[in-house]
Amino acid sequence: MSQAASLPASQEQLGPPERLHPLYLLTGLGQSVRGAWGLMAGGAVLAAQGRWWLAILLVAGSAVFSTVALLVGWLKLEYRVGPHEIRIDSGWLSRTSRAIPFDRVTDVDLEQGPLHRLFGLARVKLETGGSAGGKAEEGVLHTISLERAEALREHIRSRRGKADPVVASVATDDEVEPIFAMDLKRVLAAGVFNFSLAVIAGLFGITQTMGDAIGFDPFERSFWVGLLTQSAPLRDTIIEHQIIAAAAGTLILLLLGIGTGVVRTLLREYGFRLDRTAAGFRRRRGLLTLTDVSIPAKRVQATILASGPVRRRFGWWELRLQSLAQDGGKGDHVVAPLAHEDEADAILGSLHWKSGVNPASWRPVSRAFVTSFVGILVPAALATIATLPFLGPVGLAWLAGAALAIAARWIDWKHTRFALEHGGLFIETGWWRHRRSMIPLIKIQSIDISESWWSRIFGICTLRLGVAGGTGFSDHHVPALSRAEAQILRAELLT
């Protein structure tokens, strides 16, 4: 912790004032249009009411206003680059002068939207540890030329604390073999696994509630009959069997869900390329919007390998690094969206973190992981059985669901274990959402052992680790340890 880094306050030490690229007026326009959708909606309502003049006045007025606002914003924003800090002065009515010391900059991210790429521009984001919540725009230069952005990044990297070695020039990276890359086939495969049940459920809900109004309900015979008028035999089958219409409807929703996943993944992960630089990793990806993110190895707090039951069957894993900064406000940095185990190991190996665990050192968690869960369900299940004659099929469905939940819990338990090796804690949890995390002992900030009155009956507690970074929703913990085991593990973690 080098709190004592000198902050040059005087103007002379800073470089000349610079402005954003004039094309910011163009690239920024998209943002203000997006911001003014309320006005657009208002205009549409007025137009629908036939008050055309008012509508045109409103839209034209807002267009003029946002253009002027952009122009003023551009005129009033200046940034100065010094040897140890960057100063960004912005605003007209309320003026802000923000100084960001390079010592505190964790990542320098470049992002290029379609317009940026057309004109060779880039958006620069300076991530500091303080932005962990990702709420405020800490240091964003919206549009500057790509060369200036890369020069700025080089400058910041080379000036940042003495502990960091000077990074080799970025330009030479391209000739070096990337440590991990995804071709189009791999990206599409990742997209297939990325299908979202939420989208399917949402579509199902919409077709059920509004299908009649919008004329799209693949669960209705009429939908398919209309569609298949040319093919008489198919149409007749559907008229006879409602079940086929239902099956076809399910199929269509599934396809839509997969399609959404593929498109989303393709947009985000196209041309995925991960390079190992002297100080850490450099990740480039994107189809329309290119992002270029650097992840300093020193700031990595934990590694997470995640997979689902289907993906695991194919040997696919997603590798994320929990870092001090967040990945554009979206949590951990994904460094390999879909990789084989050996590829993930290669990435982890380049961190000099050992990943293989001696099979003998795995330790299971208590069986009470399952029994404490069953204990909650059993009274409810007994009550259901007692009142089954009144509940009917609903009660049966509930019982089946409970049995399934218990089975899933048991499979989860089978897949949960932990090990302490190579100076790190390895935790594997879950079956449906399988996660293998690794936390080096020196990155552990605090240790909690917690139990509730319920878990006390079963004699188990949870050991929870405080680790920097991450989203807070996904903490690292070992569930269902006996009190003695938990205390032993805690003592071992503190060595």
């Binding site: 605090s446 909690d448 509730s452 009155w453 929870r464 405080g466 920097a468 807070g472 503190l494 060595t495």
Partner: protein, 161 residues
């Protein structure tokens, strides 16, 4: 791998912390009790349920003001050695937290109005962790809180040098 001993000599916090808890509970419960009385008079006076709600709320309030602080106090403890701070609290939801001094980012000693009234202070330890980044230890005497703060601070400084 030699495991360091975890400090096991759990010390209780200041007994006057019970009074601070009682005062805090009173501030919470008295307005609710008054509210339930008004509600009872205004709406339920003519029904057979008259007096039921204030009785229930009053019983809850009394247990919250008399019994609960004692129990909270009995379950709250801390232990400290040259490297670790350990806080233990709760029964219904029991937590046992350990923070190594070298992981502490900054330390607050807080004194609210009730703390000042009853001569206690709260030690707040901030770590870099996302989960459990703020560890609080209430009910210390102000001198003891300052003492612990200085112990942690000197440890952090030793780490930086």
């Amino acid at each position: 791998m030699t495991a360091f001993a975890i400090p096991a000599d759990i010390q209780p916090v200041e007994p006057s912390y019970r009074n601070a808890l009682r005062a805090r509970a009173a501030v919470f419960w008295v307005p609710i009790f008054i509210g339930s009385l008004i509600l009872d008079r205004a709406l339920l006076a003519a029904t057979p349920f008259a007096g039921l709600i204030p009785t229930l709320v009053g019983a809850l309030a009394l247990s919250g003001m008399i019994l609960a602080p004692d129990r909270i106090y009995r379950r709250l403890g801390y232990a400290i050695d040259g490297r670790l701070l350990r806080t233990v609290r709760g029964w219904l939801f029991h937590t046992d937290t350990i923070v190594p001094f070298v992981r502490v980012q900054h330390i607050d000693v807080m004194r609210g109005p009730f703390d000042k009234l009853f001569g206690t202070a709260t030690l707040v330890v901030h770590t870099a962790g996302t989960h459990n980044s703020v560890v609080t230890l209430p009910g210390l005497s102000p001198e003891r809180a300052a003492e612990i703060r200085d112990a942690i601070r000197s440890e952090i400084r030793a780490d930086v040098d």
